[in-house]
Amino acid sequence: MAPTKPFDLRIEVDTYVNRLDNNLLLNSEESDELRDHFHCQVEELSELGLSEEEAFEVSKMRFGERQLIQTEFHKAKPMKMIYRYLMVGLLLLFSLELIEALIAYCSAFMFILIDQLHVPFQTASIIDLSIKGSLLVTLSFCVYFKLKQGTISKWLLWFIPVMSIVAQLTVPALFNFGMSYDSSVYFSIAGKAIMNSKIIMVISYLLSVGLFFVLWHRNGKSLRLSN
């Protein structure tokens, strides 16, 4: 028979508080406060003759239904969830932008194969499709495992927005490369309008990246991070 694990109050309290805060609404002070509550109560009940394990069971019962407490915390911090959804939404947008850029780079590589290295069109297409296919499969697996883990690495939170900015700035240049520059297009009214809308797009993109970092700084704990 396997030996039973000895009861460790600290571990049990930590596990219970973490489960209570599975939506990551609490900051470290609030989590410590809940831990302190259980330790105080267990100490008090132990003085009355209960074992630590029994005292902790009684404390949990007195504490109330977990779901109810979670709902109350949600009501007390309604913006926290909105900020989190906004962060996840922005991250998704940056990821899509990055994937789009990677595909664009693959297409540029295909142009180089055909134009510079004179690879036959069909062979270049097969190479292009295989690179894009393996890229998408790898990314899908990465996303699947990340979702399964329920965590996101800290470096990814930096990498995705920063690289998506690089993509925003470099991909259009990639396709303009080698094309003849016709200044009359840029100085025409339509040309100026296109330029203005591009500038506005880039500025809004930079602002959304800025917003993402501000949200991350203020609500860092609302995403489950791994190192």
Binding site: E30, D32, E33, H39, R62, G64, L68, I69, F73
Partner: protein
């Protein structure tokens, strides 16, 4: 022992917490114990429900908090600030006036009383 309705308990939680904090700085577990002691066990809160209330009061800047290390643990103490004090005065007057109205309605000679 008196059993209070959920609604009444919910409505009275904020004035009770603010009144306890008016007596001096305190932390979550001790607030619960003091309420149980004063009410002689009649006000039996689900203990966990106090913490979201404290969070809400702090967010609304009615109370403020600080951390003290006791018994090797970080303990979050709350104190009533000036905004909280004036809000408590307002709440006291509301509950007092409601209490007076109830007293008048329930007075036996009052023809409004329902059998």
């Amino acid at each position: 022992m008196q059993n209070y309705s959920k609604e009444l308990i919910a409505a009275s939680t904020i004035p009770i917490v603010l009144s306890i904090l008016k007596r001096g700085d305190n932390y979550g577990y001790k607030i619960i114990k003091e309420v149980q002691e004063i009410s002689e066990g009649a006000l039996n809160w689900k203990e966990g429900s106090l913490y979201p209330v404290l969070t809400k009061l702090e967010k609304n800047k009615l109370i403020s908090s600080y951390i003290k290390t006791e018994n090797g643990r970080n303990r979050k103490y709350y104190s009533l600030n000036d905004t909280g004090k004036s809000f408590l005065v307002q709440l006291q007057s509301e509950w007092q006036s409601l209490h007076e109205i109830m007293q008048k309605i329930w007075r036996p000679q009052n023809p409004l009383i329902l059998e």
